[in-house]
């Protein structure tokens, strides 16, 4: 499953979606807001999303992942709106029989997320300034 939400993200809320009696390995990735980016202090980040397209691209990432790793279960959730320091902006869960595929699928999903999802960060700095990540900086 995949979704976009404004809620606080917790791994345990999504664990049941990847549980399977025949799966022995669950890998989860949490991307959290950190206090520095390219040398500049950050105290929170606003995540903006082109939601219609983001959901279409999430579906594509899910299809690509299940084609490459047919036996896994996966969860991909991105939070949008204002995210505070050390809160999570993304959670990715993968499960499979053995750990190798759970790790590989999880890394693959994150690589595709970074390439495909139309989501943008506006960093809020302690001095009150803001800047869009990845352009004009």
């Amino acid at each position: 499953m995949f979704e976009i939400t404004t809620n606080v993200l917790k791994i345990e809320d999504y664990l049941s979606h990847v549980q399977d009696d025949s799966h022995g390995a669950i890998v989860s990735f949490l991307g959290v807001v950190r206090n520095i980016h390219e040398g500049k202090s950050v105290h929170k980040i606003f995540y903006e999303c082109y939601e219609k397209m983001a959901l279409k691209q999430m579906k594509k990432i899910q299809d690509l992942t299940l084609e490459k790793f047919p036996m896994i279960k996966m969860v991909l959730v991105h939070r949008v709106g204002m995210v505070e320091l050390q809160e999570a902006s993304i959670v990715v869960l993968t499960s499979s029989k053995h750990r190798k595929h759970s790790f590989e699928a999880n890394m693959y999903i994150m690589d595709e997320v970074k390439k495909l999802l139309p989501i943008w960060k506006k960093e809020h700095h302690p001095d009150g300034e803001t800047s869009w990540v990845g352009i004009g900086s």
């Binding site: 991307g31 995540y47 903006e48 999303c49 082109y50 219609k52 397209m53 983001a54 279409k56 691209q57 991105h78 902006s89 993304i90 994150m110 997320v113 970074k114 390439k115 495909l116 999802l117 139309p118 989501i119 943008w120 960060k121 506006k122 869009w132 990540v133 990845g134 352009i135 004009g136």
Partner: protein, 81 residues
């Protein structure tokens, strides 16, 4: 023909609008549309270089020819995750 542009992130900030419906001439490419809309912006060339294009929620090349009813978005570098 009519198309729709949705503006996000830095483009909404730079152009001051979040969407517009537009009448465009037949045969216009998405890159030409981008150049028209960003004509007045400083660093337009730099923006073009780092921007990709979406048509109806899919990525398209910059030489894509616009069609009636298309929903266009200029996609600055994504930074999800």
């Amino acid at each position: 023909m009519k198309i729709q542009i949705e503006y996000f992130a830095i483009y909404r900030d730079l152009l001051g609008i979040s969407s517009e419906e537009l009448e465009v001439s037949d045969g216009l490419s998405i890159k030409e549309l981008f150049l028209q809309k960003t004509d007045a912006l400083m660093d337009r060339d730099e923006l073009l270089e780092s921007t990709v294009f979406a048509v109806n929620s899919d990525y398209e090349d910059c030489d894509y020819i616009l069609k009636e009813g298309d929903e266009i978005v200029f996609i600055p570098p994504v930074s999800g995750g």
